[in-house]
Amino acid sequence: MRLQSWIGVVGLVLMLSAAEGRAQVTGRIVGPGATRLEIAVSPLDGAKGVGDRFAEILSRNLTLSGYFRVLEPKAYLEGSAPTDAGQINFANWSTIGAKALVKGTISQSGDSVSIEARLFDVAQHSQIGGERYSGSAERLPQMARRFADKIMEYLTGEPGPFDSRIAFASRRGGRAKEILEMSVDGYDVSVITNNRTINLAPSWSPDAGSLLFTSFMDGNASLYRADVSGRNTRKLSSGRGLNLGGRYSPDGQKIALSIERGGNSDLFLISSEGQVLKQLTNGAEIDVSPSWSPDGQQIAFVSSRTGTPQVYVMNADGSSPRRVTFQGSYNTSPCWSPKGDLIAYVGREHGFNIYTLNLKTNQVHDVTSGQGNNEDPWFSPDGRYLVFSSTRVGKPALFLADTSGQQQVQLTKSGGDDTSPSWSPRLP
């Protein structure tokens, strides 16, 4: 049996060998419109409401992944029980076109739930994998996201990125620009700032527990750190002028940011508590938007030192800067991929679009191809996806794309003016 998925530099996956009497599922990248893996997601057996909710959230995340087409629940011929491979009537599932099947059980006791979720290979009548989760009922959405990530791991060898958060700037509350953060599936949004001024450019700490952002809340563009609990907000860099684009080093010990004093912006390193450690650039032109390489050894940034904004890479001590973008007269917003191989950025050619630069081959790939103006790319923690803002449907909204750009999905509604997304690391 051979299943193809539209995405995946990673060949699919299933490491179950035919010799052991089990399925061997493989796949590779194919063009847009390629077959997604048909999957049926049965409500969990045992507690109607929460069992359906788990299936709904899991289905949303599997759909976002681009690997799966979730079959319409109305078509299911078999109920949520049975859940053992020996008892499931797989003909009920192959008849409706399912190649993979999720079933499981849930039990609820007071405020806590206990879940066992399983993935089956329909053709082989076998269980591919299963997970147990238990905890407070309000964690149910996260359990569903974790199982989505696990299903991607079963099938691609690498966990999915959906148990994570996306922070962004938004005007959805009115005129002010505030920092919000949400689950990737959009079910769960919470507010980080509500100071009715201008807050921008959020980025996550490596433990996903706090956010850096720049705010005009006291009149000056200062750098702040806010815990996601909202209980603590601390000013880290507040000299008069811009204190902008703070990004934690991968080890969380340092923050790179651009500081403007008297008109000129340069890059600096400060400690995680705000003490200036080192000036990294020292030129008469604009230097902004640092992005760390995943090993913490290098920093990508934007400089206008040749007259137009271009992306550069330097060592993390400021030495050996080199220009890496050469197409066009406007290249900004670099984001270094978590695997280290790509830098995503915004280029101004036929509008603003998201590009990726392969650092080994120097190949440039146009991800968004002229669908509105597209800005502020940020990689998912597994490096397979980008989140960015786009005006293709009107006011800026957040979109998700795989790095090839073959699949592009709208994550937030237009009209809220959602910009500057930052994707967190996987939640601890």
Binding site: M217, D218, L242, D376
Partner: protein, 172 residues
């Protein structure tokens, strides 16, 4: 299984500058706005664009000191704007006690962070020219709002060119 973190607003966690708010409810908040009152500092910086924004007002053009405008992604002064700034310098000489804040603004095309840095360059270019005309640098401060506080929001060149400006605000 990890715990799900509780998230609540940062509304009161800070007491900074003119924003003095007491107490900090640690409850989860998922919506914005909705009838809360937030106290901002009053007075102090006159009619700057951020203060006007906080008061629910749009940006202003002109005043005793005229705005100057810039080409896309540029911060060098255009020749017609030098005469405007010469007139501004005359006003500043006649009002020797006045202090000004020069705001740099950009249109919305391009990147938020880069545009903030570009706005700072625009404000600095105006300040430098006024210094060259004999106005004391200590009378002038600069601030950039990038593309954050535009005069207009239409997607056309007429609006973009209005937003690419340096706006001077007389401080009391």
């Amino acid at each position: 299984m990890k715990r799900v973190r509780e998230r609540s607003i940062a509304l009161c966690a800070v007491a900074v500058g003119l924003l003095l708010l007491a107490g900090c409810p640690a409850k989860k908040k998922t919506t914005l706005g909705e009838g809360e009152t937030t106290t901002f500092g009053q007075g102090g910086t006159g009619g700057g664009s951020l203060d006007r924004f906080k008061q629910g007002l749009g940006g202003s053009e002109g005043g005793p000191l005229q705005d100057v405008h810039f080409d896309y992604d540029r911060y060098d002064l255009r020749s017609e704007d030098r005469s405007t700034l010469q007139a501004n310098a005359e006003w500043l000489k006649q009002n020797a006690a006045a202090k000004v804040e020069i705001e740099g603004h950009c249109d919305n095309r391009g990147t938020v962070e880069y545009n903030l840095a570009l706005g700072a360059k625009r404000a600095k270019a105006v300040k430098d020219y006024l210094v060259s005309l004999g106005i004391g640098g200590d009378r002038m401060s600069t601030i950039s709002y990038g593309e954050e506080l535009p005069l207009c929001r239409e997607e056309n060149e007429a609006c973009w060119s209005r937003n690419r400006r340096a706006h001077s605000v007389v401080l009391q």
